[in-house]
């Protein structure tokens, strides 16, 4: 497919739209902090550390959403060869790595007071760490290959392989003996949480999803701007 002519002005507009959206989502994150600290009750067995869950779970959701969409966009790229799909996959992978960093730091910070250890090599934690490294490798690969068509093809294959890990990570708590808590919202039965906790968690899910959309839009616009400059 021939690459369409990209206007630098359009690329800048997309970037600014993404930045504005993600700035609004960051304000939403401040609201989540207020709700989590002031509105939700303190859990009797875990104490204040339980409130880490309002950030950790939505960050995990955004990271797994980002990596799943990398895989879908990559598969579509290999079929259609549309550079927009490759650009989207690259943006989603980078944003997914940022959310994974939140997930992989807040998780151990919660685990230390609750499990008595920062880390344990159980299935979910280990698979999540592998997924993070796989997508860091994806970004390194993209930076190393100069030819755009080769770069898109090679990284699409890695993106699809990364996506295959996502269902295993979600189901790992059912498939293996694990210390990690079972899902409390994304499960076949109804969510098992008091209403204040559930409301705050759902708002946090919405904020992290908006943050994902804003970051990806901004990152996509920046990639477009780079291509427009190279084409000029």
């Amino acid at each position: 497919m021939s690459a369409p002519v990209i206007s630098l002005e359009v690329a800048r507009r997309i970037t600014h739209r993404g930045l504005a959206l993600s700035a609004a989502a960051l304000l939403g994150l401040a609201l989540v902090y207020v709700l989590a600290l002031g509105y939700t009750p303190v859990e009797a067995r875990q104490g204040l550390a339980q409130k880490i869950f309002y950030l950790h779970v939505p960050a995990a959701w955004s990271a797994l959403l980002a990596f799943s969409l990398v895989g879908f966009a990559s598969a579509l790229y290999l079929w259609l060869h549309d550079p927009r799909l490759d650009r989207f996959a690259a943006a989603s992978a980078e944003v997914g790595v940022a959310f994974s960093a939140v997930m992989l730091t807040t998780g151990p910070i919660w685990a230390k007071p609750i499990w008595g250890t920062w880390w344990t090599w159980d299935a979910r934690l280990t698979l999540t760490l592998f997924l993070f490294f796989l997508f860091v490798g994806y970004l390194v690969l993209r930076a190393a290959v100069q030819d755009p068509s080769e770069r898109a093809r090679f990284s699409a294959v890695v993106g699809i392989l990364g996506m295959l890990l996502v269902p295993f990570i979600h189901l790992s708590v059912y498939l293996f003996r694990t210390l990690h808590p079972q899902p409390i919202v994304l499960k076949p039965s109804a969510p098992s949480l008091p209403p204040e906790m559930l409301r705050t968690l759902l708002i946090s899910f919405a904020v992290f999803t908006l943050l994902y959309v804003g970051f990806v839009t901004a990152r996509y616009g920046l990639a477009l701007a780079e291509e427009a400059r190279d084409a000029a």
């Binding site: 630098l8 690329a11 800048r12 970037t15 600014h16 993404g18 930045l19 993600s22 700035a23 960051l26 994150l29 902090y33 303190v42 859990e43 009797a44 067995r45 875990q46 104490g47 204040l48 550390a49 409130k51 880490i52 950030l55 950790h56 960050a59 944003v95 940022a98 960093a101 939140v102 730091t105 807040t106 910070i109 919660w110 230390k112 007071p113 943050l211 970051f215 901004a218 990152r219 616009g221 920046l222 701007a225 780079e226 400059r229």
Partner: protein, 37 residues
């Protein structure tokens, strides 16, 4: 007798600070790049 919740606020603060640093830091990185674009 009601259960006294454990005192572990320092972990809560650490997690919220780390999250803010990563997400705000990433936004600032994108913003700085956009100024050069």
């Amino acid at each position: 007798m009601p259960l006294e919740p454990p005192r572990n606020a320092e972990y809560l603060i650490a997690a919220y600070v780390v999250t803010t640093v990563i997400l705000l830091g990433y936004w600032l990185r994108l913003w700085r790049k956009s100024r050069k674009a």
